[in-house]
């Protein structure tokens, strides 16, 4: 997914004719999904405050279509796991992930969510990919708001290019089975 410099949400490639434009269904659905990702801010510690900075007026994640923050997993598309996830918190994170409606994506924001970060201790879950499948990892402790926005943009590229049949494909089922999420 090459990164074009200034993209005013470039139209997907397709056949342009006299007064009509034809493209693949995946592209259209992907474009719609990519620009309306509703985040579920699973903010536990310091990265949560950086997320507040990202949502505030200066860095404004709303420019990427994530204006409406949904705290219930039912209407959330993208689970932003920000901050340290302890072992006591793991079942809750997993429950929230399972109750999210498909299609769902996960961004592990910050070193603690991606790999346990500097807290290699008995009480911290060493990376949320031990519990739920993760799509994008954002490094940093805490990552700057630009990095969080860059993580969301990476996810938008993923969403744009996701095919309709991915969620029913064998690899996806096997990935979920490896986490024994049925």
């Amino acid at each position: 997914m090459e990164k074009n410099k200034v993209n005013m949400v470039a139209a997907p490639e397709g056949h342009v004719g006299e007064g009509f434009f034809a493209t693949k269904l995946d592209q259209v659905v992907g474009l719609a999904r990519a620009n309306s990702l509703w985040p579920l801010p699973f903010a536990t510690s310091c990265c949560g405050i950086e997320f507040m900075a990202t949502m505030a007026s200066h860095y404004d994640l709303a420019r990427f279509g994530s204006e409406r923050v949904s705290f219930s997993p039912r209407q959330a598309d993208m689970l932003l796991v920000m901050g340290t996830i302890s072992k006591k918190m793991a079942p809750i994170l997993r429950q929230v992930y399972e109750q999210m409606s498909e299609p769902r994506w996960v961004i592990a924001v910050g070193a603690c969510a991606s790999s346990g970060g500097i807290f290699d201790t008995y009480s911290v879950l060493q990376g949320i990919d031990k519990v739920i499948p993760v799509d994008v990892y954002v490094p940093g402790c805490p990552p700057r708001p630009e990095q969080i926005v860059d993580g969301v943009m990476q996810l938008q590229e993923l969403v744009k290019s996701e095919s309709q049949r991915r969620r029913h494909s064998a690899e996806y089922k096997e990935l979920l089975a490896s986490y024994n999420i049925e």
């Binding site: 510690s45 310091c46 900075a53 505030a56 009480s123 805490p142």
Partner: protein
């Protein structure tokens, strides 16, 4: 894929509310409800769970469960040399992390009785008061969000970005600052930091005045916060309250005044005290404290001693600058000894209290002469005063419980350190 053993998280059968689930009738036929103000809840602004026993809208009893981001700071601190513990301290109360860092450095300076030069002390006072402003700024604007006024948050958060820029000039990081060294700072403040500080001091008071006018005389805000979650001074003292929550109850205890550290005695500032200890008083005390902090910063800037010394001359604790290390032998030896942690540390116990964003933040350090502390205990104000939360919301409405929680400014990082 190594699978993580999963425990079931549910209300245990022997829980004292369990009997309410079966037979729980009320005189008007309605039933007591059990509501779980759980870990992932938008209103709790942190990760703690309260199981509320409620009769309709009124709360009869609450039971908090914490520890959802317990990261064993004290265990890590026992395995790290002294100068590597500062990244832990600023992840405790991450809304005002420079205060924690400076508190840790002051504990070490007290242990090794190092005399920090006046100018470095003044610089520390400025950065601590900036951190206090940002801490109160977040707490009051989130209290506004909880009573329905979202603009206050967006409007005032802009100035937290300005303070982030000042932090970046001083130590390169925005939130988890990891600032300072034993004896002072790692580098002198660049002129740009002072410029940013001056522009901040010029246009923040205007914005803060408007923020204050937005709330203090606002009819809805007054209805939602006046005598909500009121605490008496005796109850506050009994539950170990310190800081703005205690001063709102009418007790004027402030560590900066009771036990002045880092030359706080050179500045005159008065300690705002509330009357009735309710949420409105907590809001007003934090507002007034921001004005006090601004005046302290101005006084510190005026009385700043000349010259550009920014750290004490203690070579065997203070990392020598890199160019010295390459050129002369002693600096190389000192550098090596400090980095390998072979610094001479006495066998002693020391307790250093500091006025943090939420109250008295204390570092109790026991050393046994080795390169790591033998035991380091953090007196975390959020952990201590959060015990009073069930007591404060008994009989309150559910919407009041949310407002009380955000007025207490409980920071989850400090709660479960």
């Amino acid at each position: 894929m190594q699978q993580f053993k999963m425990g079931k998280v549910t209300l245990p059968a022997d829980h004292r509310y369990y009997k309410y689930i079966e037979e729980r009738h009320n005189e008007d036929g309605s039933e007591l409800a059990i509501l779980n103000l759980g870990p992932t809840h938008p209103a709790t602004h942190g990760i703690f769970q309260n199981i509320l026993l409620m009769d309709g809208e009124r709360i009869l009893d609450a039971e908090p469960t914490i520890g959802y981001i317990h990261r064993a700071f004290e265990k890590i601190a026992e395995n790290r040399p002294f100068y590597q513990i500062t990244p832990l301290t600023d992840r405790m109360n991450y809304c005002s992390s420079p205060i924690n860092n400076m508190a840790w450095w002051m504990t070490l300076e007290k242990l090794l009785d190092i005399e920090v030069p006046k100018r470095a002390q003044y610089l520390r006072v400025i950065v601590m008061e900036l951190a206090r402003i940002t801490d109160h700024l977040i707490c009051n604007s989130i209290l506004g969000v909880d009573t329905g006024a979202y603009t206050g948050f967006l409007y005032v958060f802009q100035f937290r970005e300005k303070v982030y820029e000042i932090y970046e000039e001083i130590c390169g990081a925005r939130l988890t600052t990891n600032m300072g060294r034993i004896g002072g700072f790692e580098r002198d403040w660049s002129p740009r930091a002072f410029e940013l500080l001056d522009t901040f001091l010029k246009d923040f008071p205007v914005a803060w005045k408007e923020f204050e006018d937005l709330f203090t005389r606002n009819r809805i805000f007054i209805d939602r916060t006046v005598n909500v979650g009121a605490i008496t001074p005796e109850m506050a003292l009994d539950y170990g309250f310190t800081g703005p929550n205690l001063r709102a109850a009418g007790v004027d205890y402030d560590v900066r005044v009771a036990q002045p550290y880092s030359s706080y005695e050179d500045f005159e500032f008065n300690v705002p005290v509330g009357k009735s200890g309710d949420t409105y008083d907590r809001f007003c005390v934090r507002n007034a404290e921001v004005w006090e902090s601004l005046s302290i910063i101005r006084q510190a800037l005026d009385k700043m001693p000349e010259g550009n010394v920014f750290h004490a001359d203690v070579p065997d604790y203070y990392l020598p600058p890199k160019e010295d290390v390459y050129h002369n032998m002693e600096a190389l030896i000192y550098h090596f000894k400090i980095v390998m942690g072979e610094v001479p540390v006495p066998v002693a116990e020391v307790y250093q209290p500091v006025e943090g964003g939420n109250g008295e933040l204390g570092f109790y350090l026991i050393t046994d002469g080795s390169r790591t502390p033998y035991r380091l205990h953090f007196r975390r104000p959020s952990f201590i005063y959060y015990q009073a939360y069930p007591e404060m919301i008994k009989g309150a409405m559910l919407s009041d419980a949310i407002v009380i929680l955000s007025s207490l400014n409980v920071i989850a990082g400090e709660l479960d350190a």
